[in-house]
C-alpha cells in the first residue's frame, strides 16, 4: 500500500522565509574555518588586512543580525521533492515565492530583481529561481541560496571540443578566474560543472557551490586531484583578497560531473564570492 505524507504550504512558506533570513546574515562555519586558515597562509600584508575585515564583517553581521553583504542576492532554491509527498493548502511554487517575499521584507534585504530590459524593479525580490527534482521518500529538502550578482556576472559556460580534455577544462577554469580578476570580490569559491548539456553543466556548477568548503569531491579521485591542482594554479595568479594582491585568490574549487553527448564537453564555471550563503532544511 502506498502511503502519502501531507505537507502544508504554510510549512513551506515558513521554512523558505527562515532559510533566507539566516543565509543572508550568518556566514557558515565551514567558510569561517577556511578564512582562518587563509589568514595564516596569506603572505601579502594588505591581503591579510582584507581577510581580517571579512572575518570582522561576519562577526558584526551575525551579532547584529544584519546582511553580510548589501547584495542579498537573487533567491535561488534547490528542491528535492519526495514522490510520496502531497502538498496541501495551496500551490507549491506560490508558497516558495511567498516565503522569499516575506524573508526579503522582514529581513530588510535589498530587492535586487528587475525586468531585464526596462530595468524596472519587481519590488519584492521575486521571482525566485527554483531547481527541483523528484526523489524517493515522503519529505521535501529545500536549499536556499541567495546569489550575488557581481560574482554571477563573472561566470561562464564553454562548449569545449572533446579533444580539449582535462587540460581544456583546467585552462577554461583558470582563465575565467584570471579574467574576472578583482571584480567578483575575491577570495572566491569556484563551482565547476563538467558534462551534461549546456544548461545542465551550469546547474552542476551552481550545485557544486553548495558543498561544504574544505571537502573534496566525494568519490572520484580524478576530480579530487583536478580540484586541488586548479586551486593551486588559481592561487598563483597573484590577484589576492579584494584583488589587492596576494596568494589567496580562491578558497576552494568544487567540481561536479556527469556524462555528456559524444560530440560535446560542456564546462560551466560559476563564481561565488566568499559570502557563500546557503542554508537547508528538510520538512
Amino acid at each position: 500500500m502506498c502511503s502519502v505524507r501531507e505537507i502544508s504550504c504554510k510549512a513551506i512558506i515558513e521554512t523558505v522565509r527562515r532559510l533566507f533570513l539566516e543565509a543572508n546574515t550568518e556566514l557558515g562555519d565551514d567558510v569561517l574555518r577556511c578564512l582562518n586558515a587563509a589568514v595564516s597562509r596569506e603572505a601579502s600584508e594588505i591581503g591579510r588586512y582584507g581577510l581580517e575585515k571579512i572575518q570582522e564583517n561576519a562577526r558584526i553581521a551575525r551579532e547584529m543580525s544584519v546582511p553580510l553583504c548589501q547584495d542579498t542576492g537573487l533567491a535561488v532554491l534547490f528542491v528535492e521533492m519526495g514522490q510520496d509527498v502531497r502538498i496541501i493548502g495551496g500551490n507549491f511554487t506560490d508558497a516558495i515565492q511567498k516565503g522569499v517575499r516575506q524573508a526579503y521584507r522582514d529581513g530588510y534585504f535589498r530587492k535586487s530583481v528587475c525586468d531585464p530590459l526596462s530595468r524596472r524593479n519587481t519590488g519584492d525580490n521575486t521571482p525566485a529561481i527554483i531547481h527541483s527534482e523528484i526523489v524517493r521518500g515522503d519529505k521535501i529538502k529545500i536549499v536556499a541560496m541567495p546569489k550575488g550578482g557581481g560574482s554571477e556576472n563573472m561566470s561562464r559556460c564553454f562548449m569545449l571540443l572533446p579533444a580539449a580534455g582535462t587540460e581544456g577544462v583546467r585552462a577554461a577554469v583558470v582563465e575565467s578566474v584570471a579574467d574576472a580578476g578583482p571584480n567578483p570580490c575575491p577570495p572566491v569559491i569556484v563551482g565547476v560543472g563538467i558534462g551534461g548539456s549546456m544548461e545542465q553543466s551550469a546547474i552542476l556548477a551552481k550545485k557544486a557551490l553548495l558543498r561544504p568548503l574544505g571537502e573534496s569531491h566525494r568519490n572520484d579521485p580524478r576530480l579530487q586531484r583536478l580540484e586541488r591542482e586548479i586551486l593551486g594554479e588559481i592561487n598563483k595568479l597573484g590577484i589576492g583578497p579584494h584583488g589587492y594582491g596576494g596568494f589567496i585568490t580562491a578558497l576552494a574549487v568544487h567540481i561536479e560531473m556527469m556524462p555528456c553527448h559524444i560530440a560535446s564537453l560542456p564546462v560551466a564555471i560559476n563564481i561565488q564570492c566568499h559570502a557563500t550563503r546557503h542554508k537547508e532544511a528538510v520538512i
Binding site: 603572505a43 601579502s44 600584508e45 594588505i46 591581503g47 588586512y49 582584507g50 575585515k53 571579512i54 570582522e56 564583517n57 558584526i60 553581521a61 547584529m64 544584519v66 546582511p67 553580510l68 553583504c69 548589501q70 547584495d71 542579498t72 530588510y108 534585504f109 535589498r110 530587492k111 535586487s112 530595468r119 524593479n121 519590488g123 550578482g149 557581481g150 556576472n153 580578476g181 578583482p182 571584480n183 567578483p184 570580490c185 598563483k236 595568479l237 597573484g238 590577484i239 589576492g240 579584494h242 584583488g243 589587492y244 594582491g245 596576494g246 596568494f247 564570492c273 566568499h274 559570502a275
Partner: protein
C-alpha cells in the same frame, strides 16, 4: 602596508595629486551613491541637455545600493558594486566635474585616461564587508531617482570610510601592480 591617510571631501587638485596607487585612505565627508540605472539616466540627461539632479562638480560617487535601513538605523548594509558596468558613462561625468569614484574591480582604458586628464581618483572599497562599512555612515538620504528603489541616488555623510587607491592621476593601477607582484 602604508599608514592610512585621512582625507576630507570635496576632493581638490591638491588632494588628488597627493594620492598614489596602494594608499590606504580613510574618507570623511559627502558622497553620493549611484549605480547602473542611475548612470543611464544621468547620461540621458546630459545628452538631452537637461539639468542633472545632483551636483557633479567636485563630487565623489559611490557605486552602491544599500539594503533598506531598519527602524532606528541610519542605513542598512552597504558596499561597492562592480564599477566596470559604469565605465561607458564615466568619462562624460568626469568631464562635468566628478572627482572621486568608489567601487570595486577594474576600469576601462577610457576611464583611466579621463581620470588622468581631469585629475580624478578611483578608490576601491572592500566587497562583501557591508555590515562593517555601514558603521562609517552617519547620514543617508535619497536625493534623486527615488522611483528606482534600491538604485535611487543617495547622499551619504561618511566618517573614516576605509578605501584603497586603485587608479591615481598618473595612470597607475593597483590591480595590475599587485597581481604582478604576487604572481608565481
Amino acid at each position: 602596508m602604508n599608514k592610512p591617510i585621512n582625507i576630507h571631501t570635496p576632493l581638490t587638485d591638491e588632494i588628488c595629486e597627493a594620492l598614489t596607487v596602494g594608499d590606504i585612505v580613510l574618507l570623511t565627508g559627502d558622497v553620493i551613491t549611484g549605480r547602473d540605472t542611475a548612470h543611464r539616466r544621468l547620461s540621458d540627461a546630459v545628452l538631452a541637455g537637461d539639468p542633472l539632479p545632483v551636483t557633479l562638480a567636485g563630487a565623489t560617487l559611490f557605486y552602491a545600493a544599500p539594503t533598506p535601513a531598519r527602524p532606528g538605523q541610519v542605513i542598512g548594509s552597504i558596499g561597492p558594486t562592480t564599477s566596470s558596468r559604469m565605465d561607458r558613462y564615466t568619462p562624460m561625468l568626469i568631464e562635468r566635474g566628478l572627482r572621486g569614484m568608489i567601487g570595486k574591480g577594474k576600469r576601462s582604458a577610457e576611464v583611466r585616461d579621463s581620470m588622468k586628464r581631469y585629475k580624478a581618483i578611483y578608490f576601491g572599497a572592500m566587497g562583501g564587508v557591508a555590515a562593517l562599512l555601514a558603521g562609517c555612515v552617519r547620514k543617508a538620504e535619497v536625493v534623486a531617482y527615488a522611483d528606482l528603489g534600491p538604485e535611487a541616488m543617495m547622499h551619504l555623510e561618511v566618517v573614516k570610510f576605509p578605501l584603497v587607491v586603485v587608479n591615481d592621476v598618473r595612470g597607475g593601477d593597483l590591480y595590475e601592480d599587485a597581481a604582478a607582484r604576487y604572481r608565481r
